[in-house]
Symmetry: C2
Amino acid sequence: MSASCDLAEARRLDAADELAPLRERFVLDERDVVYLAGNSLGRLPRAAVTATERAVREGWGRRLIRGWNEGWIDAPRSLGEKIAGVVGARADEVLVAETTSIDLFKLAAAALAARPGRRRIVTDALNFPSDLYVLQGLVRLLGDRHELVSVPSRDGVTIAEVDLAAAVDATTALVVLSHVSFISAFLYDLARVTELVHHCGALVLWDLSHSAGAVPVELESSGADLAVGCTYKYLNGGPGAPAFLYVRRDLQRELEQPLFGWLGHAEPFAFEAAYRPAPDLKRFCVSTPPVLSLLAMEPGVDLVLEAGVDRLRTKSVEQSELLLTLADAWLAPVGVELASPRDPEQRGSHVALRHPEAWRINRALLEPTPGAPTVIADFRAPDAIRLGIAPLYTTFQEVWLAADRLRQVVASREYERFSAERPLVT
Amino acid sequence: MSASCDLAEARRLDAADELAPLRERFVLDERDVVYLAGNSLGRLPRAAVTATERAVREGWGRRLIRGWNEGWIDAPRSLGEKIAGVVGARADEVLVAETTSIDLFKLAAAALAARPGRRRIVTDALNFPSDLYVLQGLVRLLGDRHELVSVPSRDGVTIAEVDLAAAVDATTALVVLSHVSFISAFLYDLARVTELVHHCGALVLWDLSHSAGAVPVELESSGADLAVGCTYKYLNGGPGAPAFLYVRRDLQRELEQPLFGWLGHAEPFAFEAAYRPAPDLKRFCVSTPPVLSLLAMEPGVDLVLEAGVDRLRTKSVEQSELLLTLADAWLAPVGVELASPRDPEQRGSHVALRHPEAWRINRALLEPTPGAPTVIADFRAPDAIRLGIAPLYTTFQEVWLAADRLRQVVASREYERFSAERPLVT
């Protein structure tokens, strides 16, 4: 792809894209918006509008408590089965429950209990801070008997596998990593790292929030132990939709998670006074799920399954490569640096760019401006802008327009009319 | 009210009921259904249909990630402020977060850490089993250094305050009780028990799931320390809607809950590597909330505030007393026993009845039957049927019809045509 790619060429790429028709399965009310934040919140599938209406009017409104017998109680498992198909797991290894942080807490605690003699927990400097917080809270709750080791990044963008290997040893109980890191989009080799961790007798817990639905994930074939992930990014599950968790089949009876709740009980409706964990994956359930947010999730997952993760990945790499080409040609000259790995094999489905004025630049992209598209990307402190490629609905034209708009905003210093003060959310 | 109350009299009571017009604010598609399970899942407010449509189409569909800046991120606090008005707390003492079990875990763990020398946790035999499970899991995670003491019930229906007082001592860190118990509806005197617990220097954690929105709760005036509660029962928040938690203002900085997550951080969007809890109630947040289920909750809470808890309570007592009168006249003679306190001052807003064939009787009530209303109540193992009074929409006529139908089903042994086998949910 040449650096001289023009808008017409981007449109030709869209015309040739076999996944392009799937875009129309999403609500696209504002056609002048370039949405490159599907890595943060996936777009609304049209079928999710119908699904939520049905859940509200028919389920809650008419069936009332009978709804529990008519699908609600089974949804965490049936949705888990579908997500298993997205992350290369077996149907009985994934379920939907609570949130990514809560699920991480459950699985990390279960893993530490399963490696009682080992005191070390390994993570990395690129991991999502909230994942680090969960581990910090757990270590504290357990009486500060564990050591939390964070593998540094040499370049702020990647983690060297040798550095990770050096940190994992015979005292290591658990390794907790994001498969794709939330800012740089650095992508681990899941199979190789899993092998490395197993070589030391430790367990590995993958956070798939930024890879599920965007990057092939081979949990079963890699022998990964544990995983959690978010459903509202590339799975299009809706804002704050419940998370999913994965426990390898042979570990399910062995591991005990500490958040005992009625849905994890072997017989939830026996209302026994003593907790008895279910003999299978269900023991990792805790609470009554938020039904409306739960049922809204299914159409987004269905769309990923319909497209197929491999085809999504191919398109994602093509679009990301176009973005990098344009960034090299147009953005590097005005001081915008690449903050993601250049090698697509090391990169997930978003691209991070870096500029000292990233906050104000992102603010300018969002501002409705005559003659320019509104570009929705996101800012991550201190100086990154993330551009998310969600191949179910992202077009080559959008990628082109975003790069073009970025060039305009930075070259013209259009961002200077915005305040540098940051509100709560970005 | 005489035992000869006929249907016409029940209708006259409805005609005279000043809260009756609020019933029309709920979706009532199936007028032949008698719904007495609002203690399990509150009915769908009409305004919640609009609120969820707006959240899906306008929020998720059009505003996309911008929705976070346009109300979503503030909703846990703004909804908490409204619920504070329902449970007698100050606006900055309640927030909506996660689930009842997860919130119970957070607050119980925080309380135990604040009473480090004390090993005893007191609860009672009528408490919701899932609450017991949470405590069992926490005790286990903390290395089995705490003793979980359950105050027995002498009659299976109430807990004697003297028995509770005898169990709480100088070694007690925490007392965890349901304000209204889930089967018998036994209602504690919250102020008196709080005082009793404080007298021993322990903390008290109330589960308000079966009282919030149905019974006056005076958290502030009683000086209660901690509380959690469900929003999908008398608050009509929708199936599995997120829970609420309360922490008395002066305890908020002192207590540290162990589920560290990004929303509890002092600066969630700074993405710092180390967790620093927010200086206020926000430290009890953990995860991104399920937005659709969260926003669906507001209309139900608004209706409770509009009616006023005192007026709801007055009507609830009148309706429960009618039910008891009819039960004495019609049901006791056919072997259905009262399994709730007779004194309304000791009873929440549902009435439990007991019969060896409760499961099949409840099944028969649910079965569409020509010439008879479908009565939706619920069964609780081993032998209870719960009839929930939700005065926002329950009518006196419904109470009458339910009692009449129960009499018919039991007297005619109509239930014998149903299997005694129980499916997962009831």
